[in-house]
Symmetry: C2
Subunit: 241 residues, 2 copies
DNA sequence: GCCGATTGGGCTAGTCTCAGACCATTGAGG
DNA sequence: CCTCAATGGTCTGAGACTAGCCCAATCGGC
């Protein structure tokens, strides 16, 4: 934690892997966060390759890998494309242990801390900013959609709600950081059973977050998000123990 | 800001450039943030290449470019290495305009928002955590060092103080995000003249941040950081207008 | 039933990047 | 003064990645 800690931070790896691996990771993020919903279609390869800044060859390798792994169904011809077949697994303690073993306990703590910081920071920033009618409406709509969700759609719409907060700040960097943070723990969150008590509790907290943001109270917004995320983190820790 | 916003966020470029460009950027970050201070030496090429996860050839190209650009002085032989010759430029409005034109106003707002969110989030998290004696001491030492700094060292130690907050959370991801956020605006901050009034004001705010963290008051810590950063952001905006 | 637009599938030549080995230079210490 | 360890400088062959082009399949609409 001395001077050398900063060296570790700044001189960390430039690349997290080769282009293929990073692409697989990114597509998996889009799928698991529900950015492309089950049954939905990825953009055409040519367009997607440009967006991701990689060649079509590499993109196709990644798509092929995800297709082989059962995440995607690729169809040729007009109105074809890569369709998402992935469905979040049923909550299960075994899956959770598997997921936490894949990353290690230190990495998990890192990810949870990161998520807590960026999401509460985002809410704080958003509450401090001027929100026009359209943005207020969007936030409320996302909340309504989440509250109306069935169990199948809950995780996806929960993610959509949380990410909307970061997106509404107008900072692409912040939105990307929140999406990244969320995807790092999504496998674990998916493993937690969705009990009605927890959902009810979450709904109250979501409401408190939106209220604080719309009221323009940054501290209340930050606190509300922190409490909410601490709740799920505690649930997770308890579930793993 | 609708559904497609999330597609933009998640399906953003996988690579910010080729390995050479990203390496130059990273080394520049280490230099400009003062992680390797003026006169200091970068780690040996072989070690640095491993840390950055790139080949020595690519690393050497990057070092060569920075050497040509006057940031580094490379010396051969035992006790040789790449020494930092860069000195932060004198504060100057022309430099500032140049820097802001290099990134565009939208990108600047993005970076400032990102910095605000991650740094206040980090302070909030740190204040909420248990701090042992060593960590408290480190935080206070950084503050003392900053207060004792001359004008030459002020920016560097200011950065060191702020980054320490993120590092102390124990989250490498969060520390990296804060370092990234800071490096995005460092050129601009360097362009702001350091007036004694501003330094005095900053010292009071730094003290408030540390007090809130040590008192274990997340909301006060988040607020203190937000006020502090908003202050410098406002200074920046006024300076550019 | 054919046409054309859209989309995935595949190939090639060229560039970037890497791992590893070997060479050249420097300066502290014997 | 010589030696030797640490460090930058250079080369090479192999693999990864890219841009661009053309082929193949599919389906709506004429």
């Amino acid at each position: 934690m001395d001077e050398s800690a900063r060296l570790m931070t700044v001189l960390r790896p430039v690349r997290a892997g080769n282009a293929f691996e990073e692409t697989v990771e990114r597509l998996l993020q889009a799928i698991k966060l529900g950015v492309v919903p089950p049954g939905g279609k990825l953009p055409p390869e040519r367009e997607l390759a440009v967006r991701l800044g990689i060649s079509r060859v590499t993109l196709r390798e990644a798509i092929r890998a995800l297709s082989d792994a059962g995440y995607l169904d690729v169809r040729r011809g007009r109105y074809g494309g890569a369709f998402v077949t992935y469905r979040p697994p049923e909550p299960d303690a075994g899956t959770a242990r598997q997921a936490v073993n894949a990353m290690g306990p230190g990495e998990l703590a890192d990810a949870l801390t990161f998520r807590l910081a960026v999401e509460s920071g985002a809410a704080q920033v958003l509450a401090a900013s001027e929100l026009d009618a359209a943005k207020r409406e969007l936030l409320l709509r996302r909340l309504d959609e989440l509250n109306a969700a069935g169990l199948d759609d809950y995780r996806r719409l929960d993610t959509a709600f949380h990410l909307s907060i970061a997106e509404l700040t107008g900072s692409g960097l912040l939105a990307a950081a929140c999406a990244d943070a969320r995807s790092r723990v999504s496998d674990l969150l998916n493993a937690i059973p969705m009990l009605q008590v927890n959902l009810d509790h979450a709904a109250v907290q979501h409401r408190a977050i939106v209220d604080a943001i719309l009221a323009g109270d940054p501290e209340a917004a930050g606190r509300a998000v922190a409490e909410h995320l601490e709740g799920t983190a505690a649930l997770l820790r308890g579930f793993l123990a």
